[in-house]
Amino acid sequence: MRTDLLKGHLDLVLLSCLGDGPAHGYLLIKRLRERSDGELDLLEGTLYPALHRLEAAGLVTSTWESASGRRRRVYRLTQNGGRALGERTDEWRRFTGIVNDVLAGPA
């Protein structure tokens, strides 16, 4: 699948992956790959500017945590982030429903 189709929707996808629980950057990429059966295989470095933006917007928060001898920046949804995830998911479902109806042609 063309990964440029993900442009504009990366924030929603990341919020959704964080909805599964706190995660560091690499784990988020793995969740994205697993949930999409490998179809959404974006350049991994594009994740970090997006996480910065979501953090600046107050939708996620992050802390350094140590595990297995490694220090990792772990991201989690804030209350606003959870609310935004719900709203954007509804919006996306409405939008894709409309596009699907259009593509289906006349009833």
Binding site: G8, Y26, E44, T46, H52
Partner: protein
């Protein structure tokens, strides 16, 4: 596992990043952890060197990552600078209102109040245009870079206008003994103006930061080669907020010089009428000339502001570059 490819990549990324020390170190630490985790996983299938090479390849070119981060940081900073300008504007406008209510006679004593009147007009235009763009692109994954530049310009222009207005009022107050207030009334003016000064200084720090971060976009490889014409972007942004406004806004901004001339003409009429009205009819002849001079000054300031600042705010002219 040898770390050759990862270490080289981190060095390249460090060279490309245009960030302050703390966020740079944080990002490099995150990227390092990410690449090592990725390489360790890949090392189960391929040789260690190849695992590192693939991890780096999947991460993306250092310049691409650096540019993405520079845009994200500049966009956040520019948007915040607009909100800072909004607070400073509100503080300054409140101080002027307090002054007008406390010392209305001195407020009418030209040029007392004139610096503020000019400053607030410039600032409100910069603020209005910037707020449209900030709100339009608030939730955007990656706002267009021309919008980020216009936001940063708007904050700088707005804050500079407010600072010049405050300095102008201070000069007028200090050089005109007639402008000195009775002490019992002074706190009603001094405190709001002190708050306005603090808010303007804070907004100035934010605007300077936004301007700096936006300027770094030029230094990071991958700059877009084509920037769209400024006027359609503003019409697009207004329509993005209020879809029904696309037609009227496009029509209004289709001939910007005509639009601004009309605004200047209306301002000329409004200022003249406000100066003459309320005076006895027999005094109209004596106040007509000063009123006309003031109204003309107002109209000329609008035209001069449009010529001098319109391009930086994305209100006039083409910004297309090859």
């Amino acid at each position: 596992v040898t770390r050759g490819a990862i270490d080289s990549y981190l060095e390249s990324l460090d060279d490309e990043l245009r960030l302050a020390r703390a966020p740079r170190r944080r990002l490099l630490a995150e990227v390092k952890d990410h690449l090592r985790a990725s390489a360790d996983e890949l090392a189960a299938e391929v040789e260690a060197d190849e695992a590192e090479r693939r991890a780096v390849e999947r991460f993306g070119a250092a310049a691409t990552v650096a540019r993405g981060f520079a845009v994200a940081v500049a966009a956040t900073s520019a948007r915040r600078s607009t909100y800072g300008l909004a607070l400073a504007f509100a503080a300054y406008a409140s101080a002027c209102l307090a002054f007008a209510l406390t010392a209305s006679s001195q407020f009418a004593d030209f040029p007392q109040g004139a610096p503020s009147a000019l400053a607030l007009q410039v600032a409100v235009v910069a603020l209005a245009v910037s707020l449209v763009r900030a709100l339009r692109w608030r939730g955007s994954a990656r706002p267009p870079e021309d919008r980020i530049r216009f936001l940063a310009n708007g904050a700088i222009i707005g804050v500079a206008a407010l600072a010049a207005g405050l300095a102008g009022e201070a000069v007028v107050a200090l050089t005109r003994p007639a402008g000195v207030l009775p002490w019992q009334d002074a706190p009603f003016v001094i405190v709001p103006f002190a708050v306005a000064v603090v808010a303007t200084l804070a907004a100035g720090v934010g605007a300077a930061g936004a301007a700096f971060r936006t300027s770094t976009l030029d230094a990071v490889p991958g700059r877009p080669t084509h920037v769209r014409s400024a006027l359609p972007t503003l019409a697009d942004d207004v329509a993005g907020l209020v879809p029904r406004a696309l037609g009227p806004v496009t029509a209004a901004f289709g001939r910007p010089a005509l639009l601004v001339s009309a605004v200047a003409g209306l301002a000329l009429g409004a200022v003249f009428v406000s100066q003459v009205s309320g005076r006895p009819f027999e005094h109209h002849a004596s106040v007509a000339l000063p009123a006309l001079a003031l109204a003309t000054l107002e109209a000329l300031c609008i035209l001069a502001g449009y010529v001098a600042l319109g391009r930086s705010l994305g209100l006039r002219g083409e910004r297309s570059t090859a």
